[in-house]
């Protein structure tokens, strides 16, 4: 190839495999590049649109959630649990901090310091996205009705097919009674 390039370049004859190869490579590269350039907008249009992404934060007044109660609210179209935990639930979660778990985490790492009674997590089961129900399952927490994943009072996965604890989400306490999600 390199030899033929040197020979034919000096001859300027009608058969010039070196130049022909170059044009082939150039044309193929340009075509592949063009196909990728056209394909990308056609694929990326399926990703969340700007107005969907704009639904980012939400303020919620937690004073209406009584001790031992739980609300399910919608944040960015995703269900979120805000659970006002009883001291008994917190104690049970802390006691299990070092029990064998699929996705080990301490109870303290799943709440904000000084607000341990508030557990705020995405309400979608990490298996296939169903909403678990509280008060069922043998760990005093949630049981997913779809495929039987069991979460404890810190919403950590303890049994069943789900691979992860219920996901945490970014939030801050604006005051003791007001929380900002997102």
């Amino acid at each position: 190839m390199a030899d033929s390039l040197v020979q034919t370049a000096s001859e300027h004859g009608p058969e010039d495999p070196g130049r022909r190869d170059f044009i082939n490579i150039l044309a193929t590269t340009a075509t592949v590049g063009a196909v990728v350039a056209v394909a990308w907008p056609l694929i990326d249009q399926m990703n969340p649109a700007a107005d969907t992404l704009a639904l980012s934060s939400l303020e919620y007044d937690i004073s209406k959630v009584a001790l031992g109660q739980e609300v399910t609210i919608s944040w960015r179209k995703q269900p979120v649990f805000i659970r006002h935990r009883t001291p008994k639930e917190i104690a049970a979660a802390v006691a299990d901090d070092h029990a064998p778990m699929k996705d080990p985490a301490t109870d303290a790492s799943r709440t904000k310091p000084g607000h341990e009674q508030w557990l705020i997590v995405l309400a979608s089961c990490t298996h296939l996205g169903c909403i678990p129900s509280f008060g069922q399952g043998e760990y005093g927490g949630w049981l997913c009705p779809c495929h039987g994943s069991v979460y404890d009072t810190s919403a950590r996965i303890r049994k069943g097919p789900a691979p992860k604890n219920l996901y945490l989400l970014p939030y801050t306490f604006l005051t003791d009674t007001k929380v900002k999600l997102g």
Partner: protein, 439 residues
């Protein structure tokens, strides 16, 4: 299609067209296609499935004229507008919704026929693979169609199935975001599912075209699995099999009509009469009956990624079947041992279907408590699914390849009409045996 053509253009116009676009020749050859003379009623499901696809496309195009693919309007446009207000909307939607079930009933019998008579074996592997592709496309289409009424089962079914893809490491979440067009299943998801639900049936129709093309190269298999040896072994597709298929379609339409007119909601779930609510999961989520065995396999495995891979693997078994079964004998008529294992496989698939419809920790034998093993009671639906799923995979990966080596098949007839001649009913007293005159 396979080089044979007995078409003779008769008029000047036909001759003119034949040298420009031989479409009449093409149609004539299709009708005249030499078809084995011994095909039984299990071979009519190809025609029945063509009928089903046509029914779904026609009713679907009509429904799309009245449907509103937005999260806010979808439920009402189906349950209020189409079902109550549009002229005959209830009928057209009843045919479309039950038509999906009829389509799957027919395709399952068609697939079982193919396995039993060894229709996937050489030289029909590509024909079989195209059929598997059609089946996967059908499942995707049916799933997206089920989402469109935007009831509770639609919504949560969509959520569970799209979350399946999130099981894949690294790319999983990017894929689900791409499918959802948001942070969760929502109006953008519904909109794109509607678009794809309209598109895929035409893709299916195109693959059906290839499927029929691939059928017409080697020609039909037949219940004996013996190759066609001469023209005497065949009859023309028309009128012999157009009439036979036509009769089968008519009988099939009776069953279809029973569902449409007398049991229109028998196969749907009451939860789907409740509008989609992203904050409440129905107590008991189940897919449509035709997906239940796969759902049971998914649930049987206590790990998300492995469960999803097993579900995909269950489908992949069909694709690789031609290379798993190396037995030279095609038809299970002459493979008594293979036949037994095949029937057990059907029972296992039905058991998986039953398991998929039950709660995971429900009891198989009511009132009996067994020891707990790998998270579940031995007498639970989950354990029955595990055993049935194990057999499902063992049938393909272990039993089928081993039988090809160890089974002694019964003698295979020399030609596909020998068994007909030797059958006592074929030669009544005093009759002259002349099978070639019997149609």
């Amino acid at each position: 299609m396979s080089g044979h053509s007995s078409y003779e253009p008769k008029t000047a116009i036909e001759r003119w067209l034949d040298t420009r676009l031989p479409i009449i020749r093409f149609s004539a050859d299709l009708l005249d296609f030499p078809t084995p003379r011994n095909l039984n009623y299990w071979y009519t499901f190809g025609g029945i499935l063509t009928f089903c696809l046509a029914v779904q496309i026609v009713t679907g195009i009509v429904l799309a004229m009245h449907y509103d693919p937005s999260g806010a309007g979808a439920f009402n446009s189906v349950e209020q507008h189409i079902m109550r207000d549009v002229n005959y909307g209830w009928l057209i939607r009843g045919i479309h919704a039950n038509g999906a079930s009829m389509f799957f009933l027919a395709v399952y019998l068609h697939i079982l026929r193919g396995i039993y008579y060894g229709s996937f074996k050489a030289p029909r592997e590509v024909l079989w693979l195209l059929g598997c592709v059609i089946y996967v496309l059908m499942m995707a289409t049916a799933f997206m169609g089920y989402v469109l009424p935007w009831g509770q089962m639609s919504f949560w079914g969509a959520k569970v199935i799209t979350n399946l893809l999130g099981a894949f490491p690294i790319v999983g979440n990017a894929i689900t975001a791409l499918l959802w067009g948001g942070f969760s299943v929502d109006s953008p998801t519904l909109n794109r599912f509607f678009s794809l639900h309209y598109l895929l049936p035409f893709v299916i129709a195109a693959v059906v075209g290839l499927h029929i093309w691939a059928l017409h190269v080697p020609g039909n298999n037949n219940p004996t699995g013996v190759n066609v040896k001469s023209k005497a072994d065949t009859v023309a597709f028309h009128p012999y099999y157009t009439v036979k298929d036509g009769f089968a379609v008519s009988v099939f339409m009776i069953l279809f009509a029973v569902f449409v007119f007398f049991l229109p909601d028998a196969l749907s779930k009451v939860d789907n009469a409740v509008p989609a609510n992203p904050l409440v999961t129905p107590a008991h989520i189940v897919p449509e009956w035709y997906l239940l065995p796969f759902y049971a396999i998914l649930r049987a495995i206590p790990d998300k990624l492995m469960g999803v891979l097993a579900l995909g693997g269950a489908l992949a078994m069909l694709f690789i079947l031609p290379w798993l079964d190396t037995s030279k004998v095609r038809s299970m008529r002459y493979r008594p041992t293979a036949r037994i294992y095949f029937f057990i496989w059907i029972v296992a698939a039905l058991a998986l279907g039953w398991c998929g419809s039950q709660e995971p920790d429900g009891q198989v034998i009511q009132g009996l408590h067994g020891p707990t093993f790998i998270d579940y009671d031995i007498n639970s639906v989950t354990w029955l699914s595990r055993i049935a799923a194990l057999y499902y995979f063992a049938y393909f990966l272990l039993i089928t390849p081993l039988l090809a080596f160890f089974e002694t098949p019964r003698p295979v007839p020399d030609s596909l009409y020998t068994p007909v001649l030797s059958h006592p009913a074929a030669t009544p007293a005093g009759a002259v045996a002349a099978p070639e005159t019997k149609g």
